[in-house]
């Protein structure tokens, strides 16, 4: 298998593993942002898809969190944490996904080091792929929940 295909396969395996977390954060987003702020989720997805740097995505999340109080709203269903949506998302991307990146780049999987610039660039791109995949899943769940909510109201 060529290196690109190996990377895609590993990212897809991780996407299966973090699906549950993406759903939780998608539910949190639906609770906090609700349907009227749908464009902010679309923007998040667009930024993730087009960003050259993971930190462009983090900066966007920070800006939205600072600007809109609903991005700072905790999720009552999450008894373990009182963190708002923006903070929870930022934490997951910055820490949990970083750990997954380290796992798939480790010697037993893709075996990509962290010493040379070339290796670091490769890791940067894989990190972006993981973030994109996670945000796609999150936004799908958000859309599903808000549409479910509006259908319930219509009924």
């Amino acid at each position: 298998m060529n290196p690109e295909m190996k990377i895609i396969r590993e990212v897809n395996i991780q996407a299966e593993n973090f699906y549950g977390e993406a759903v939780k954060l998608g539910d949190h987003a639906a609770y906090a942002l609700k349907a009227p702020h749908r464009s902010q989720m679309t923007n998040l997805e667009n930024i993730a898809e087009s960003a050259f740097k993971a930190t462009d995505i983090f900066d966007y999340i920070k800006k939205q969190t600072a600007r809109f109080s609903y991005w700072r709203q905790p999720f009552p269903e999450n008894k373990a944490s009182n963190a708002g949506f923006g903070e929870s998302l930022k934490h997951y991307l910055e820490h949990d996904l970083k750990d997954k990146l380290a796992t798939i780049c480790g010697p037993k999987r893709l075996n990509i080091g962290d010493k040379t610039d070339e290796e670091k660039q490769e890791r940067r791109l894989i990190y972006l792929l993981l973030i994109r995949q996670f945000i796609r899943q999150l936004v799908v769940e958000y859309e599903y929940q808000v549409s479910l909510g509006s259908r319930k109201r219509e009924a």
Binding site: T55, D59, K62, R67, R72, R124, Y127
Partner: protein
């Protein structure tokens, strides 16, 4: 004109070096030194200059803001610009060549070409750093605001 390799290196530096440094920079000022976050009008001005691409203009702006005679109520703004000027100067004097290894140093280039490359590199690095500062600054300002609201509510 910077090469694709230089741009990619800057993106990498932005993610791995400048972002964590910008977060520490703001937290040190706001959480350790009890400074107020930078007001939104200052952030907007700084971002707009940083996006203008010319490093000289940005540096002049930072120096001007640092050296202004701020009233005591706005002394934190002076503290911010003093720290920012130090960070940018260190980046330009030392880190650009010795740590970031971004300068190509091609043979046969004129002094003005070499200077232009340095200017473009610094403009991009400074812009990345300032964008990260602005995002963290906003987050800290919102957190402080929420805390103050909670305190006011609990006093009632």
């Amino acid at each position: 004109m910077l090469s694709a390799a230089q741009l990619q290196k800057i993106w990498l530096l932005s993610d791995t070096v400048l972002y964590p440094e910008a977060v520490s920079f703001m937290r040190k000022l706001v959480q350790d030194q009890d400074c107020d976050p930078l007001p939104a009008s200052q952030v907007a001005g700084l971002l707009s200059i940083a996006e203008s691409m010319k490093y000289d203009d940005l540096h002049r702006f930072v120096l001007h803001q640092r050296d202004r005679n701020w009233p005591p109520s706005k002394r934190d703004i002076k503290t911010f610009y003093t720290a920012l000027e130090e960070a940018l100067s260190l980046m330009q004097r030392k880190r650009l060549k010795e740590e970031f290894h971004l300068v190509t140093g091609e043979q046969g280039r004129s002094v003005s070409e070499a200077r232009q490359e340095l200017d473009e590199l610094m403009a991009l690095l400074a812009r990345e750093f300032i964008q990260h500062l602005a995002a963290e600054n906003g987050l800290l300002a919102a957190q402080l605001d929420d805390e103050r609201k909670k305190q006011r509510m609990s006093r009632r």
